[in-house]
Point group: C2
Chain length 516, copies 2
């Protein structure tokens, strides 16, 4: 599942300074959060690594391609998980947990599938000092882990639908350039695996799940995505068709597959003998789906919203939405200011916000501002002697640096408005930037020009696999080949439009571009 | 961590019929839930395997020692997780996620620790067709995975305490007899890893966490446990001291370590150089704890409460607390009965219970009773024509088969009372059985006699490691050697009491017995 998840060469590079875990007391400057050494516009790859580390989302680990997910990351993951898990439970999808390991015979049962994953499967061959009799694979995804048991559990039409999900880690031992969240050898995800009596039910679920993925990106992470269908070349290995939500990173001009919802058709059912007796007493084969989103989502969030001061967290997923900072002044009543900070935090938390005060006495207010800006906290509240006297606080937005004085009596109401506004503004700004990168083309020359301008290219084509292969071959270069991202469900008119490559009648509009 | 977790030879054996996963349409009788072929009193090991499978908690997997956790299991796990996760968050412990993999150099840094785990570490040596340059271990626990980064992150006293937890899978490739939940090669757990400036803080947390483990067992799983301290021989490999909650399985006469909360002292801090500048500006070493509970908890629940009709789920962790079964009668108004079932479920769910109706028309009420008894649903509600006429329902308890007619007007109130009562009764019955197995002895002869009677033996001893080794050697037999389970915090008087082995003055009372 999510076959495109971490398959192509990315641009992120880890700065050497942060590359080694366990180094003692190095790089103090960076890690105290006082600024970034790289700029997003100038050196995106280095900037990205640095902001992940200095924002305390990621720590590099001493095994290449593995990363430590710090609490600042896990809180985001858990917030998305809470949403998604509740939604799928409403759909009567149940959680389960299948083993991490899969035996080679089972793994290799579906030929197209294993061809897609074989090169990056990690193999356990020893335990303690002893060799195992048979090497055992670590799951890169769990179709082959699960489906022998679907075959066992499903007998009659009353056993359908069977709808399971698991939250787990998977391993894909890739050798292309590792990037935190985006391309890692181990990652966390959910994977749903469902079986239905009819294609119609499977088709419907594919879209229901895709809509949840859209909501994760747009409503939670404030990132605009395009829903569509993958080309035959880009679909899931062994599947029938793949739908996805596609995001775009303007700085690198690359599309990024956000999450995938696959209809597997009856292909795995055939290989794993997943049949049932239908209502007429005839033997029939199930229709299957699988779908997944991973911690990659968090990397897209960092890439899209982060700036030269650090992370920018959307309020809906920020583990701290409001940081309250006391601004004492030499003659002022420091204790009264600290008390006001505590009271403000209490008021906000009681109103359902996630607020904290930073009352440390060994850092200046300015240091704290930088620190929490690096961590991307959406709203900062400053309380100084003047604010105290005027029964107000000063609120500073992380997204646009706007400052506003809020009377204490309006605190909850105005903070709510501001957080809502920040969430919406992050989405609007991201959408504006993304839209500015979209270019519609109709000819090869226009396509090449747009590709050079790092665009997300909407182009009509004949939908032939050979043509996509040809485009990939002809655009192959240092920064990676262009390919289809998806054919958007929202299709422009095709009347009289020809393929931008072959000139043959256009069969669909697709987004094209380089991608992660 | 949890060094005793799955270390000794158990008694559970899987019936051959269920041993192979993926077998198609075999064993229909068993899997439709119509009865168990083994009795708990007569053949505990076979009974346990069968009840795990037929109750749909576990499916055997085609790799020995790995098990599929089905939704009926995951719901219990998630309910405990919700409780524990909220409690540790109140303690300001934060969730993180460290990699599955650990490099050999780091794994071997703490000598005692690796000695304890080395024989059962699984090694990845290949990816795709290529050999890795260096084999990589899969975490059996994460002390060595995490602590190099604790060394990096902790600099000053203000960085303390550092309190992290992760929910994850770990792998211990054991060759002793695998048993679902109790001894599996991969299992799910949480592992907390914390660092403090002082021993006092660490000591306090060890007990705070242990109390949460007691609550999981006693309040959620309705299983009595004994809190205590492990002997030097049984403590965590590389740790300072280990506390645990110990349960007991009367049928096998074996103790079972329920969960462990370790103080690691400064041993790992020394090996991993985890130091900080204290308030006086001096370099000091941190005090560390680690603590864990695993899916083993669920196995203990099955063993303690299950009976010859199947699982018995405590209401607080049952994913379905009440199953509503229509009992149509040939001349009766079937639709009205079905409607009454739906209405009952709605009323109960709106009141906050987890209720479902089984309206399948291809199974008889009798079949459904057996099915839901096998799954251990705490309360069954039957609705037939007479109930409908009398505006009542019939409620049947899973724990003691008591039947009671409930007027519809009192439904919510009486169901609440019954579920509370079931929860309490399960605990009381389990405690009564456990207490009946406890035997206090003072001499070797009494000890051997009690061991033969499968008792949980409370005996005074001199607390010498050599003596425990001697007891293990002298009691070694087919069913495993006796060892200390724990020294209970609640100590009987030691005045004038001598060691039951050496006759020397007794230093503490400990529980002894065979164990899982």
């Amino acid at each position: 599942m999510a076959s495109g998840e971490g398959k192509k060469s990315g641009e992120g590079k880890k700065p050497n300074a942060n590359a080694k875990g366990g180094g003692k007391k190095k790089e103090v400057k960076k890690e105290t959060g006082l600024g970034l050494s790289f700029k997003k516009e100038e050196n995106f790859g280095e900037w990205y690594s640095e902001v992940c580390v200095n924002g305390e989302m990621i720590e590099y680990y001493d095994i290449s391609g593995c990363y430590i997910l710090r609490p600042w990351t896990m809180a985001v993951w858990e917030m998305m998980q809470t949403f998604f898990d509740a939604e799928i439970k409403k759909m009567k999808i149940k959680n389960c947990y299948f083993p991490l390991f899969v035996s080679p015979a089972v793994l290799q049962k579906e030929k197209d599938h294993i061809e897609g994953f074989a090169p990056e499967v990690a193999w356990v061959t020893k335990s303690g000092q002893s060799d195992l009799e048979v090497p055992i694979a670590i799951r890169p995804t769990s179709e082959t882990v699960m489906y022998p048991y679907y075959s066992k559990w499903i007998r009659g039409h009353r056993d359908l639908p069977l709808r399971l999900n698991q939250w787990c880690n998977v391993v894909r031992w890739e050798f292309s350039h590792p990037t935190p969240f985006i391309r890692s050898r181990e990652f966390l995800w959910q994977e749903g695996h469902t079986a239905f009596a009819t294609k119609e039910e499977a088709d419907k679920e594919v879209l229901d799940i895709l809509e949840l993925y859209r909501r994760i990106y747009e409503e939670y992470l404030a990132i605009p995505v395009i829903k569509g269908k993958k080309s035959e070349l880009e679909k899931f290995a062994g599947g029938f068709y793949t739908t996805s939500v596609e995001a775009f990173i303007p700085n690198t001009g690359r599309g990024i597959q956000g999450a995938t919802s696959h209809c597997l058709g009856q292909n795995f059912a055939k290989m794993f003998d997943i049949t049932f007796e239908n209502e007429k007493g005839e033997k029939a084969m199930v229709w299957q789906n699988s779908w997944a989103y991973s911690t990659r989502t968090i990397g897209v969030m960092v890439m899209v919203h982060g700036d030269d001061k650090g992370l920018v967290m959307p309020p809906k997923v920020a583990s701290v939405q409001i940081i309250v900072v006391p601004v004492p002044f030499k003659d002022a009543d420091t204790q009264a200011i600290f008390d006001a900070c505590d009271a403000t935090v209490n008021t906000l938390n009681e109103a359902g916000f996630r607020a904290e005060a930073d009352l440390r006495d060994n850092y200046s207010p300015g240091w704290k501002y930088s620190h929490w800006e690096m961590k991307g906290v959406p709203l900062r509240i400053e309380i100084g002697p003047k604010d105290l006297a005027n029964k107000q606080v000063r609120a500073v937005r992380r997204d646009n640096s706007a400052k506003i004085d809020i009377p204490m009596v309006n605190l909850v109401e105005q903070v709510k408005d501001m957080l809502d506004n920040i969430q919406q503004n992050l989405f609007d700004v991201a959408k504006h930037k993304r839209d500015a990168c979209v270019k519609t083309v109709r000819t090869w020359d226009e396509f090449i020009e747009a590709l050079g301008q790092k665009k997300m290219i909407l182009a009509p084509w004949c939908d032939e696999m050979e043509v996509e292969k040809d485009v990939k071959a002809r655009t192959k270069g240092e920064t990676g080949a262009a390919k289809t991202l998806c054919a958007p469900f929202d299709q422009p008119d095709l009347e009289g439009v020809n393929c931008f490559v072959t000139g043959r009648p256009g069969k669909k509009w697709s987004y094209w571009g380089r991608s992660y």
